[in-house]
Symmetry: C2
Amino acid sequence: MTLRDVAQLAGVSLSTASKALNGRTDVHPETRRRVLDTAERLSFKANSSARALHTGRTGTLGLITNDLEGRFSIPILMGAEDAAGAGEMSIFLCDAREDAIRESYHLRALLSRQVDGLIIVGSRTDPRPSLGHELPVPVVYAYAPSDSPEDLSVVPDNVAGGRAAVEHLVSLGRRRIAHIAGDRSWVAARDRVDGVHDYLTEQGLELAGGRPHYGTWSEGWGRGAVRAVIEATPDVDAIVCGSDQIARGVLEGLKGLGRRVPEDVALVSFDNWEPFARGSVPQLTSVDMNFEAMGRRAAQKLFAAMSGKVEQGVLTQPCRLVVRGSSIQGA
Amino acid sequence: MTLRDVAQLAGVSLSTASKALNGRTDVHPETRRRVLDTAERLSFKANSSARALHTGRTGTLGLITNDLEGRFSIPILMGAEDAAGAGEMSIFLCDAREDAIRESYHLRALLSRQVDGLIIVGSRTDPRPSLGHELPVPVVYAYAPSDSPEDLSVVPDNVAGGRAAVEHLVSLGRRRIAHIAGDRSWVAARDRVDGVHDYLTEQGLELAGGRPHYGTWSEGWGRGAVRAVIEATPDVDAIVCGSDQIARGVLEGLKGLGRRVPEDVALVSFDNWEPFARGSVPQLTSVDMNFEAMGRRAAQKLFAAMSGKVEQGVLTQPCRLVVRGSSIQGA
């Protein structure tokens, strides 16, 4: 940074810039403030650019999200920050709102600030278009996989989640298990159904009623569907619910029908979204998709790519079952 | 951007850089890729810097949030983006997790990328420490006000929210109104209580039981508190609930006690957090704190400050009542 840079950017003469920086009083206070501000900005920038030249890194990642509620992207952001150690890394999150033009604008803005890498977070686990392979920094896709096999993606393992949910219920001795699932048009709903189905088949069992019940990701769906399930298969002793919200509706419906949870009917759901999973009586046993771990892993893969270790393909992030009172009394 | 810049940053000779950029084949593919990447990065940066010199702006704001769930910050972010028109502005969100060191690190990272202004979002409406008045760009505080009267803050109007909630109930003919509030240590809880109290006093009324019931921001608190309220004042005909989550607990508790909502007891809550407010039967009448409008206003005030129109003090953002079935049957 030279005096000339400061003077030019602040729009003053060299001598005015010099006076201002040396604290002389024969400069208008506003002019002085402008010169000092400019110097500070250039200094920040010089520091940051010098660091970038030295290490090849700026200590900054970009995260573009399409998750309008922040439910996935905030924990993924926190996990990614933790991967770098506290205070070592800033991550800039931009919200693209599932709009390709907005996404491309944010992408350009982040690249022009020379971020070291990009994490792209989708709103659902269905594949999304690749950003291509001409970007100047590495990219990792999280939650939603890229549709290009040349990209690297980290996604939740919903099939394993479905297995874990129903394995837990079978281990508790439940055998007449129904599945009130989410929206069939989402890969996540179908993956969970596949996991449930695979495990039951391996055990020589099948779903109560012979098939899953697809609907929407809402309490209202759970509330209505459970009446139909109990009517069709009154001896049901467990229900796998496609999300915590669905499970809240199922729980309320069962209470209305005089069925005790978990004594008569045990429940397991997905997401472990705490406001819902821990707000009910009993609290919900739920499969946590480990978003923070997904964010950490995405960031670690970015760091590896920056060091030249480039990977491709889709990595699945293991989930974990959080056991509470809806499946085991008093848990 | 000169060829020398590219060669230097890519760590190659001038002639190698020239060959790579001209598509010659006598350069190792990896070297060629590195040179092209470097040129692209410098080009992005040159474009962005040129624009900054021309307009004095970079088209980028920073938003530092301390809201761990993203419930306030994502809608505030979206509102701020909308203030600039689609595609005109990128906002970089950083998550400080209520940690001053992390906040200062993000602040430095954003300033080094020459953002045009900063929005600082708190996790609650209690005042927070000012970032001071030496920053090179304007700052607006949103949700949590700065503790310095020289700063500009935009905060939700929780007192008006409390008034709106109870005014609605009084307008429906309810007179024996209880208030199951949130955590007393939060300014938001006390502000809502003040608004409820002020309006009732103006109408010559007082709270059923003579005082509000402070607790926690949870369903469990609502569920337990409503039993005590009904026991102490069995003729209660309406309850103002400190949040949607509290209201969900109150609703469940009332059903358990055989009271119909809204016929016997009408409910109004705060936040209009849709997964909770719209998941129940009946759905919740709730005071929406207008986070998107708050974000738009914060951004508009930043743009004004960039143009030299600097304001100070605390602006309150009006709220709006969203009427649903918990206060008016069939609404």
